[in-house]
């Protein structure tokens, strides 16, 4: 149980940091500092070269000491001009990696969450219709699900993505990405939910409810929907990390939210050039944001009591 709390707390902290990206990050994610391409990460110091302790931490920018100014101009921290603070270094355009990771997290984590919501909603509706009404609806929906499941997932994802416009503004691409990821994954949860509905509607209390003429809506919401809740929750913990990775993959391949808007996959894309990472290791930083998120969700699955 303590492990579950730890996992939940870590996830909450990461999501909060990403949600407050505008406040925590010192720079605009698209702001280019042309004089500082590939600036390595800056250490935060408490002791100066003479060994004296400073209560206010400082960074070295262009060889000069700049104390961190906390809570000025609506930002968590900043340094005075002409100094710069690049906690996690900069990319080829001199953009602050720290700010970009936080803002990019909005895209990756947001897409993961929203696409999961979309998939669960679609799966819930289609699976319930198939299971509850049976007959031709069931046949059609489950055959369609089989077609979706007959394809390796990433091939399907790319296939669906292929037929949608490649370059759009970031907001529309973001929504498009969510729609593609969410729709592609409907079949598995729909099958699961259908099975649960099928067994739930054979319960004696459902027959009893039919016996006193309860409406389908009443039967569904009173006696069947509660059975789906825990399965939906388990599915969500399973799908969210998978969908975050899907977004990262799409933007890594240049099919997701594109420049100048930041996303974790897009930030990792330059690493495909050999040698980029060996000389500029900090460009891999988004991976270190991604890993704890994925690990926490997997840990949540393996600890959750409803896990089967």
């Amino acid at each position: 149980m303590t492990r579950l709390w730890l996992v939940a707390l870590t996830l909450a902290a990461i999501h909060l940091a990403v949600a407050l990206a505008g406040f925590i990050s010192p720079y605009d994610p698209a702001e280019q500092h042309r004089d500082y391409p590939f600036e390595p990460p800056m250490a935060v110091h408490f002791f100066d070269s003479g060994g004296n302790f400073h209560l206010r931490p400082f960074v070295f920018s262009a060889g000069r000491m700049y104390p961190l100014q906390v809570l000025v101009n609506g930002k968590l921290f900043q340094v005075e001009e002409p100094g710069h603070v690049f906690l996690l270094g900069t990319d080829a355009f001199g953009r602050d990696q720290f700010s970009r990771i936080l803002h990019g997290g909005r895209v990756s984590l947001g897409a993961g969450l929203l696409a999961t919501l979309l998939t669960l909603l679609a799966g819930l509706i289609l699976g319930s219709v198939a299971g509850f009404y049976g007959g031709w609806r069931d046949t059609v929906l489950m055959r369609l699900a089989e077609v979706f499941l007959a394809l390796p997932w990433l091939y399907l994802l790319l296939g669906v993505r292929a037929f949608l416009p490649l370059s759009l503004d970031p907001v529309r691409t973001f929504l498009l990405t969510i729609a593609v990821i969410g729709v592609v994954g409907w079949a598995r949860p729909a099958r699961l939910f259908r099975g649960i509905v099928l067994s739930a509607k054979e319960r004696e209390y459902v027959y009893a409810a039919r016996g006193f003429g309860a409406s389908s809506l009443h039967i569904f919401s009173w006696h069947i929907l509660p059975d789906l809740r825990s399965a939906a929750l388990t599915q969500a913990t399973l799908l969210i990390p998978q969908y975050i990775l899907a977004e990262v993959t799409l933007s890594f391949l240049g099919l997701g939210v594109g420049e100048p808007a930041p996303s974790w996959g897009g930030m990792l894309a330059p690493l495909r050039e050999a040698g980029m990472l060996t000389s500029h290791w900090w460009l891999a930083m988004p991976a270190f944001a991604l890993l704890p998120v994925v690990m926490c969700y997997y840990a949540a699955i393996s600890t959750s009591p409803s896990d089967r």
Binding site: L151, P152, L154, Y155, L271, A287, V294
Partner: protein, 308 residues
């Protein structure tokens, strides 16, 4: 029952084959429907080009049959696909099947060598982990931790290690992508082998056999491994889709000339025949793989009666 068993198997295989063919119809029809939903086609950009007259574009579209209604195009495609002709690549102006065939072979080579590698290493490791208490737990934990590392990151890291150390032949060699892919699927094999062996080891029939003084080595090969093989083969069948998806990503990142890079290029270029072709081929791979797994399951465990 032996003679009857064979005819049951043949009936079952025939039914599976029929099912697979129907699914392939579904998959290809779905791809075509998606193409049709998409705004614009390969020649949309050409139409905006002032140096190409609109008559030329219309002529080109007619030449490739893009001006026909969807069902006509689908049926035409279907008829030629059955003869092994998947259309003409718009980007290369070459038969799509000529482009796809060597790539599909490469993907098959990569996926099967990775699978073999993962199993040859994973099964002994899992068995070893099941027979040792603490090393077993540690290995099992490490495997579940490794499970959370996305293939994308693994491939990127591998390419860096390869460049840094020079241990691996650069781009286009099988060794590195196969290793990465195998490393990605090995944790699951280790964990499942360990779980399966642990379950069998404690079963009453083995306790009894041990009490009768049958040697440990004989027990392992006669009883433990065959009994553990069953869940492992099911697992292999089920994880094939994941393997193919991971393979796509690994191929793209590590430059292995499989279906993955070709599909990605086709997606960028909207090269519809190639996209549809690679999606259909991936579906064929998945179906053949699960069919092989099912037959192996049947062969190794005669208790499994094929369900009607």
């Amino acid at each position: 029952m032996r003679a009857g068993g064979d005819s049951v198997l043949i009936r079952y295989l025939a039914r599976r084959a029929l099912h697979a063919v129907l699914l392939l119809f579904g998959v290809s029809a779905l791809s075509f429907a998606l193409v049709d939903l998409a705004p614009g086609d390969y020649f949309t950009d050409a139409r905006l080009n002032p140096r190409i007259s609109s008559e030329t574009v219309a002529g080109l579209r007619g030449e490739y049959g893009l001006d026909r209604p969807l069902p006509v195009r689908y049926l035409r495609w279907l008829r030629s696909a059955m003869a092994g002709d998947l259309g003409v690549s718009l980007a290369y102006n070459l038969p799509a099947s000529a482009l796809l065939a060597p790539r599909a072979g490469n993907t098959l080579l990569l996926a099967s060598s990775a699978l073999a590698l993962a199993w040859l290493a994973g099964v002994p490791l899992g068995w070893w982990a099941a027979t040792r208490k603490w090393p077993g737990r540690i290995l099992s934990f490490a495997a579940s931790a490794a499970l959370t590392i996305p293939e994308l990151l693994m491939a990127v890291m591998a390419s860096i290690v390869a460049v840094r150390t020079g241990w691996f032949p650069a781009g286009g060699h099988l060794a590195l992508p196969a290793l990465v892919l195998a490393a990605g699927s090995m944790p699951v094999v280790i964990r499942h082998t360990r779980a399966a062996v642990l379950e069998v080891v404690d079963s009453p029939f083995l306790v009894a056999a041990r009490a009768h003084g049958i040697s440990e080595g004989r027990l392992v090969f006669r009883y433990v491994l065959p009994a553990a093989a069953n869940p492992l083969i099911s697992l292999a069948g089920l994880s094939l889709g994941t393997l193919l998806s991971a393979s796509l990503l690994v191929e793209v990142i590590l430059g292995w000339p499989g279906l993955g890079p070709l599909l990605l290029e086709a997606v960028y270029a909207r090269d519809v025949p190639v996209i549809v072709g690679s999606i259909v081929i991936s579906a064929v791979f998945l179906m053949l793989g699960s069919l092989v797994a099912d037959v192996a399951l049947y062969a190794c465990d005669p208790r499994i009666r094929v369900e009607a």
